[in-house]
Amino acid sequence: MRALVWHGKEDIRCDTVTDPEIEDGRDVIVKVTSCAICGSDLHLFHNFIPAMLPGDVLGHETMGEVVETGRNLNGKLKKGDRVVVPFTIVCGECDQCKRGYYSVCQKSNRKKHLADKVFGHTTAGLFGYSHLTGGYPGGQAEYLRVPFADTTVQKVPEGIPDEKLLFLSDIFPTGWQAAVQADIQPTDTVAIWGCGPVGQMTIRSAILLGAEQVVAIDNIPERLEMAEAGGAITINFDEENVVERLNELTGGEGPEKCIDCIGMESHVTLSMPDTVYDRTKQLLLAESDRPHVLREMIYVCRPGGLISIPGVYGGLVDKIPMGAAMNKGLTFRMGQTHVQRWTPDLLRRIEEEQIDPSFVITHEVPLDRGPEMYRTFRDKQDSCIKVVLKP
């Protein structure tokens, strides 16, 4: 089959690889009908996530049709089922899964010893996201083997196009969880840093959950335009001072809820000297992540407020103003998304037409154009915001 394969920094190729095979009774093989490139795939593209190996198949936003099943699926899946494959692989049996904390499933990471060493304790296995999270081949491919399939996948009905359902695999529940864990109240101002695909979904989620004011921060005009179309007030940080504008919009009090949809690769610019400092340290291997957004959120957030972090961080950050965070009594909530916790409810909201997540798709191309589209997406060329690939 064909698959998008990581060969090194900025080196992704559409390779011919062997077909995946059933290994366990709870596995299924999915024939992929649609998959997407995620913003967090760019961290892999840039080689900022450790433990990638040449030959790793990428992709963690996938859907398709079950074409082969293991023998121990408890009657929950059969050939021909249409499924969305969440990026988190979950056993459904461990204490964390029972709590609904699926992204920290204790059993699904088959390279648990690596995660135990790096993180202290293992987290869930993820598709196509380094050997720290199991080294599972990803879904930017013609076929995907799904472990623990009976508890991992979300069955979806026929009659709704892939484009409306695909993002149940990651960015829609990620944006939703980012907003839900902020416990949005009707009087809240919610400030969202980053108007990439996750930021766009977070904006829509905050609107649906009834925030009084949603403010979106970025510097890419077309992304800000899409954010505005979704109901956000926008701040272009190339043109306005973010802290001053947020204070102005909140009567000098600061936003109650701040959401970081950027993560480890904050924009670097001379007008924000700390970003240059971070980039320099990163080049010298003295820091892995650039946490400018975290600093700004801690500074501007209203005392007693909450900081929600769906953006991916990979390692070590420097110069975090913990004094401000502690004295202001801020609450931090973060983590990979517990996708399976939210997908049934979000599927219903798509069916009821509360939201149509396909709004974010700007490019739809065949799988073999994937390598080129990684570059287009990274360089923000051709007004690219979200790429869907068709194997």
């Binding site: 390779d15 290994e23 190996l53 050997h131 609107i207 959950l209 335009e225 709004f359 990684y374 051709d382």
Partner: protein, 199 residues
Amino acid sequence: MTNISSLTSLSNITRSEGDPKVLRSGPSSRGVPDSLAKGLGWFSLALGLTELLAPRSITRPLGMEGKEALVRVYGVREIGSGILSLSVDKNLGLWSRVAGDGIDIATVMTALRHDNPKRDNVVVALALLLGITAVDLIDAKAHSARHSRDVGRKRSYRNRSGFPRGVQASRGAARDFKTPDDLRHAPHLAKVSPRTSAA
């Protein structure tokens, strides 16, 4: 399609039986300007380390004895350019190399004196420097053009709300959602402060 690298073959030992393994490789997302930038980055690192650790190997053949400290400084600059050219900020690395070439040429020109017994070497060094400057300039321009945000169409997303019923009708449409107990935060102000509520 090309054959796979030995590193890719080696990594197959970490994969389980049912995992896909690469048979043949397709074209890379890296273009010629990216690959050339990588080569120039390694060249910068090698040259920079030589300048930093063995400056006399540069100054002596050019008749520039006494300038070792300056060459060491250039070595640090060259290493910086190399690191940048190998990073995802290749543009900065490549243009810093072009600027560095200009400084190098100006410095070597000072040795082009009639009383310098190594004048012939200086001429050769200048020819090499001009050649590498041309390569750096071509690659910096090609890389900038390839990765510019201006490539492609400019599109408007003004009508992409994502809400089939429109934004206004969608505000609070998910109020039926009950925040799980483990994700609750501060209570709604109106519920705890009659004064604020009345206001």
